[in-house]
């Protein structure tokens, strides 16, 4: 006897609203359906109305955990459009913050996986050690999340010797603790019983459904933007790509912990080899017309920004393809023929950043329940008609 159980939009297992409709029979899932758009904020349209510098801060606020990925991907694209290259010291500082953000994001995920599985002690210990990374980031950039260290043409803050010493000390402590968590995660019997064999995604399926990031790396696909398309400093650093071949949630856990162990060696290399020089290059207010695609390896996978400029001081079109959006199709495949008890873990294993991947696809009439699929051209037309192409009304739209 099949019946439908809704997970979300409000559910303790989800950090952000998302509609999952499962068709279950007993305790086994037969089918799943995902609904997006509960948190749609219209960021791509707002980006067309702010100038190039203001957009850095807007891009940061797409997500809290991977804020630096979006800002850096955007700045990479904008710098290519303007034809400028930041100095080497700026690149080292920028990508050191990237690797620190990868560490913080994976430690966050590890704690959340422990909490979803019911292993609260693990969750508390991992988040206690994540405070070390947050304090380091606050030291470098002035804030624990939304680091705002990028500007077009370089970075905004410099590193001095005391900060470098503190970074190296913090990384050494974290390395020992991370190896301990790898040992616990793989050896605690009740935890492994929850993770092993759950959410199976074979290598062919992962390639067919375009999975990316640790979700694909746990199925044996060793693709990483940092190795294939090395931008900036990644071709000067030595590191490996972490892969596993168990194709399940335990593999994804192991891949993420190995990735942060690699990040520690990368951060150490970057601090020791930090070149001297400027931290920024003067950027023009208006780039030349053109379009660019920027790629970046976010903690969750490959992040793609497409930017089109028409020569003014605002972008003409900015499109964000966050990695979680690519992993949704793989999630549906993983959910089929799993147990109800595994839903939070399977969903959490792709490290969902639902706010990054908001798309408004289906409009539902509140009174009649009728659904209508809306194409992009229609949304654009409705938006333009509503505001009649008007410029920003400064100081008039505010009520206070």
């Amino acid at each position: 006897m099949k019946f439908q159980i809704p997970i979300g939009p409000q559910h303790p297992a989800l950090k952000e609203p998302l509609g999952l409709k499962m068709t279950i029979e007993g305790e086994v899932i037969r089918d799943a359906d995902i609904r997006l758009g509960y948190n749609h904020r219209g960021i791509e349209k707002v980006a067309e109305q702010k100038n190039w510098i203001q957009n850095i801060y807007l891009m940061e606020r797409i997500c809290g955990i991977c804020s630096h990925s979006h800002a850096t991907c955007y700045v990479q694209g904008a710098e290519k459009l303007m034809g400028i290259m930041p100095p080497a010291r700026a690149l080292y500082i920028r990508y050191m913050v990237s690797e620190l953000e990868r560490v913080h994001s994976h430690l966050l995920w590890l704690g959340v996986a422990g909490h979803e599985a019911g292993f609260d002690s693990f969750f508390m210990y991992v988040w206690r050690d994540r405070e070390i990374v947050m304090d380091l980031l606050e030291l470098i950039s002035g804030n624990r999340v939304h680091y705002a260290i990028n500007t077009i043409g370089g970075v905004r803050r410099d590193l001095d010797e005391s900060q470098k010493t503190k970074i190296l000390e913090g990384i050494k402590t974290l390395q020992k603790r991370s190896e301990y968590y790898l040992y616990i995660g793989v050896n605690e019997p009740s935890f492994v019983a929850r993770l092993a064999g759950v959410g199976y995604l074979s290598k062919e399926q992962a390639m067919k459904l375009c999975a990316t990031g640790p979700t694909a790396k746990a199925s044996g696909i060793d693709r990483d933007v940092r190795k294939e398309d090395p931008y900036a400093v990644y071709d000067e650093l030595e590191f490996d790509i972490a892969v596993a071949d168990t194709c399940d949630v335990l593999g994804r856990t192991v891949v993420r912990i190995k990735e942060i162990l690699q990040s520690y060696t990368m951060i150490e290399q970057m601090v020791k080899k930090l070149p001297v020089g400027d931290i920024t290059v003067k950027a023009p207010r208006r780039p030349k017309p053109g379009e660019v695609v920027a790629r970046y390896e976010a903690p969750r996978g490959e992040n793609i920004h497409y930017i089109k400029s028409n020569g003014s001081d605002r972008p003409e079109r900015l499109k964000v393809r966050a990695p979680t959006l690519a992993n949704y199709a793989a999630t549906i495949e993983m959910l089929k023929s799993g147990f109800i008890a595994d839903i939070p873990l399977i969903f959490a294993a792709i490290d969902p950043c639902i706010c990054c991947a908001e798309r408004s696809v289906v409009l539902v009439d509140a009174s009649s329940g009728a659904e209508k699929t809306v194409p992009m051209s229609e949304l654009r037309r409705l938006g333009i008609e509503r505001h009649k192409n008007s410029p920003i009304k400064r100081n008039l739209a505010w009520l206070y």
């Binding site: 100038n51 807007l58 206690r128 301990y180 019997p189």
Partner: protein, 139 residues
């Protein structure tokens, strides 16, 4: 099959001091470069409007109150501010700076505005000091 892998760590933790900071009775100090809220040093402001133009949140308003005497009034809306410090970077004369206060929560937005009334300064914008040549950027 190992049983109780985490037990030694848990038992050791019984005798260690807890890692929790007992806020609000104990407060940790923010680091030196912390980005709090912006404030103006009126004697340095030349009213170029660069901060107003570059603020992502439209939190800075500069109005001219008296054209002849070159009087301006700046209002910073702390409730709209996103604490990004772009105003500090855009300002050519060091007139904007960030403070270190982070406990700025209030019950109403109307109390979170700061205002300065001043006469435009005639500070000369210093050229940036000569820096050592930068190492060549990768191709």
């Amino acid at each position: 099959m190992k049983i109780g892998v985490m037990m030694p760590e848990l038992l050791r933790a019984l005798f260690k001091k807890p890692a929790t900071v007992d806020y609000p009775f104990v407060r940790l100090a923010p680091p030196p470069d912390f980005r709090g809220s912006p404030f103006l040093k009126p004697e340095l402001c030349i009213a170029c409007l660069a901060c107003e133009r570059d603020c992502p949140a439209e939190a800075i308003e500069i109005l001219s109150t008296n054209e002849a005497e070159k009087r301006f009034m700046m209002t910073i809306h702390i409730d709209r501010c996103i604490h990004c410090a772009q105003c500090v970077d855009s300002c050519p004369t060091d007139a904007m700076a960030m403070d270190m206060i982070f406990e700025i929560a209030d019950v109403t937005r109307l109390r979170m505005k700061k205002q300065w009334e001043y006469v435009r300064a005639t500070v000369k914008i210093k050229p940036p000091p000569a820096k050592p040549p930068a190492s060549p950027a990768p191709a």
